[in-house]
């Protein structure tokens, strides 16, 4: 039994007092490979942001026992025309360990080349990042994630804009991370991919709908409950009773 490593206690996250994640309870055990699924506006990205510490909670708490995390947001604020090469961008994945002055060793460089190769970008190392397509850039960000070498990895729709062949490659990388004992939370829309590759799922539509083994979560009943969520915030919403 692994120790619980990421615990949500009555967690509510949102914007302008409107909840996007409402009263979530539960723990993600170390080594889990968890898919986060649900409709648009259901709070999936918000949950990852909350875990990454980029959004103050409206109530409850996240207890994160991991020493470090790597987070790939859905819409990052990478400046795409910044004059750096593919290799240098991948190298930034090492910055939490090498810091401001740490030397980039021979083996660091080798690992960087290897990561770039693993996402299928060999031969692109010296290209400027502005020459990459959207999907290629996404793959490069995956390479950076590999170099970050974090025990907890948060992926927000990592396969958007990525071709079928590369999705297969990236899923292999994710499964490798899983085998290495890393904890992974991944927001996804493709339920087939979730059923085939993710042992656990969290279905969330503002309210948590179901959480557990994927087969028990992605049932027709649960999915139709998730679909019935009203996406718009109710402007006239009353104060939440449960918050008291």
């Amino acid at each position: 039994m692994s120790t619980p490593a990421l615990a949500f206690r009555d967690l509510t996250l949102g914007y302008d007092r409107h909840p996007a994640v409402h009263h979530l309870d539960g723990t993600v055990k170390a080594g889990s490979l968890l898919a986060v699924v649900g409709p648009n506006g259901g709070g999936k990205s918000t949950l990852l942001k909350g875990i990454a510490g980029q959004l103050p909670s409206l109530g409850g708490s996240v207890a994160n026992g991991f020493p470090a995390l790597a987070y790939m947001p859905q819409i990052g604020d990478l400046s795409r025309d910044f004059p750096v090469s593919v290799f240098d961008l991948a190298l930034t994945g090492l910055c939490s360990r090498r810091g401001l002055f740490g030397r980039i060793s021979r083996s660091d460089r080798d690992r960087t080349y290897e990561a770039i190769g693993r996402v299928g970008l060999d031969g692109f190392e010296d290209r400027s990042i502005r020459t990459l397509s959207g999907g290629q850039l996404q793959r490069l960000l995956f390479a950076r994630l590999m170099l970050q070498d974090a025990p907890l990895i948060l992926l927000d729709e990592p396969f958007a804009a990525i071709d079928q062949r590369t999705i297969v490659d990236l899923l292999v990388i994710i499964e490798n991370w899983h085998r290495e004992g890393r904890t992974i939370l991944c927001v996804l829309h493709d339920l087939e991919v979730v059923r085939q590759h993710f042992p656990e799922s969290l279905l969330i539509a503002r309210e948590p709908i179901a959480w557990g083994p994927t087969a028990t979560v992605l049932t027709d009943a649960n999915l139709s409950r998730a679909r019935s969520m009203s996406e718009a915030f109710d402007r006239e919403a009353a104060l939440c009773e449960r918050a008291a």
Binding site: L69, L78, S79, F82, L89, T92, L100
Partner: protein, 289 residues
């Protein structure tokens, strides 16, 4: 020796030309890299806004302390730091974008400055504040300029990775380090310092030219930030040298001459550099793959 008279003679003959060159080269070393980072942060016009924020401080310093280096520098620094740091902090803490925050605070600074000056009815030599006096740099001013440019280079060398990361991908930088704000605000402080150093030589308005024009030039010649830093510094130094010589031989005002050389270099690069227009106008045949 025609070439000697043209290029070297003026500096050998006249100490004020040597001082101007030394000051100009020192300003180039600090300001050009700062301009490059401003450009990469899409803040190319921020230098101009910040210069407007510094102007009232410097004028106020002049009003209180007269034509004293210390008073004008201190006034400029106080006004510049307040505006830059307030704007930076507010853009980090709220939805307000940095350019709007800067616009708000520099306008406040400018209006306050103008109000105080017009009330004082003193005769501030606004023209020298605006356009500088590179041909009249005294020892202490030169020392100030050289110190600030040295400080800038040391700070850039120490903070290089953090600053690049903060410009390249601020979200990622925030994820791996809690010191993003330090790099951001430290950088803004460097912008102010270099504007203050430069305004003694080129004036509060023209100093922006030696900051931004070489950066724009560098962007057209390279796709690599390290190379761009070198190109920007060289372009700024070239503008200082050639601008001084042109102003000497043709009897023109030095500050504007320097900035014009920097501007013409930019325009030439815009046309002829590898990433410039000529490449677009003369498309070559496309490749197989």
């Amino acid at each position: 020796m025609l070439l000697y008279d043209l290029l070297i003679g003026p500096f050998i003959e006249f100490p004020f030309m040597r001082r101007a060159l030394a000051g100009g080269l020192a300003v180039s070393l600090g300001a050009a890299p700062i301009g490059l980072f401003l450009m990469l942060r899409r803040m190319s016009l921020i230098g101009d806004a910040m210069a407007h924020a510094i102007l009232p401080g410097a004028a106020l310093g002049f009003l209180i302390g007269g034509l004293s280096l210390g008073a004008m520098t201190l006034g400029g620094l106080v006004a510049g730091f307040s505006v830059a740091l307030l704007a930076g902090a507010i853009s980090r803490a709220t939805l307000v974008k940095e350019d709007m925050a800067l616009a708000a605070f520099y306008l406040l600074s400018l209006a306050t400055g103008v109000l105080i000056l017009s009330g004082a009815k003193a005769n501030v030599d606004v023209l020298s504040l605006l356009f500088g006096s590179i041909l009249a740099l005294d020892d202490s001013t030169l020392l100030l300029i050289v110190s600030i440019s040295s400080l800038t280079m040391v700070a850039l060398a120490l903070g290089y990775r953090g600053l690049v990361l903060e410009c390249l991908d601020p979200g990622f930088a925030a994820g791996v380090s809690r010191h993003g704000a330090l790099f951001h605000l430290g950088f803004l402080a460097l912008v102010v310092l270099n504007l203050v150093a430069g305004f003694h030589a080129l004036g509060t308005l023209l100093v922006v030219g030696i900051m931004m024009l070489p950066a724009g030039t560098a962007r057209l010649w390279s796709d690599d930030i390290t190379a761009m830093l070198g190109i920007a510094v060289l372009a700024a130094m070239f503008a200082n040298l050639v601008g001084l010589l042109v102003s000497y031989h043709l009897g023109l005002a030095s500050g504007p001459a320097i900035i014009l050389v920097a501007g013409l270099t930019y325009i030439a690069s815009l046309i002829a550099a590898p990433l410039g227009l000529l490449r677009r106008w003369l498309p070559r045949r496309h490749l197989e793959a």
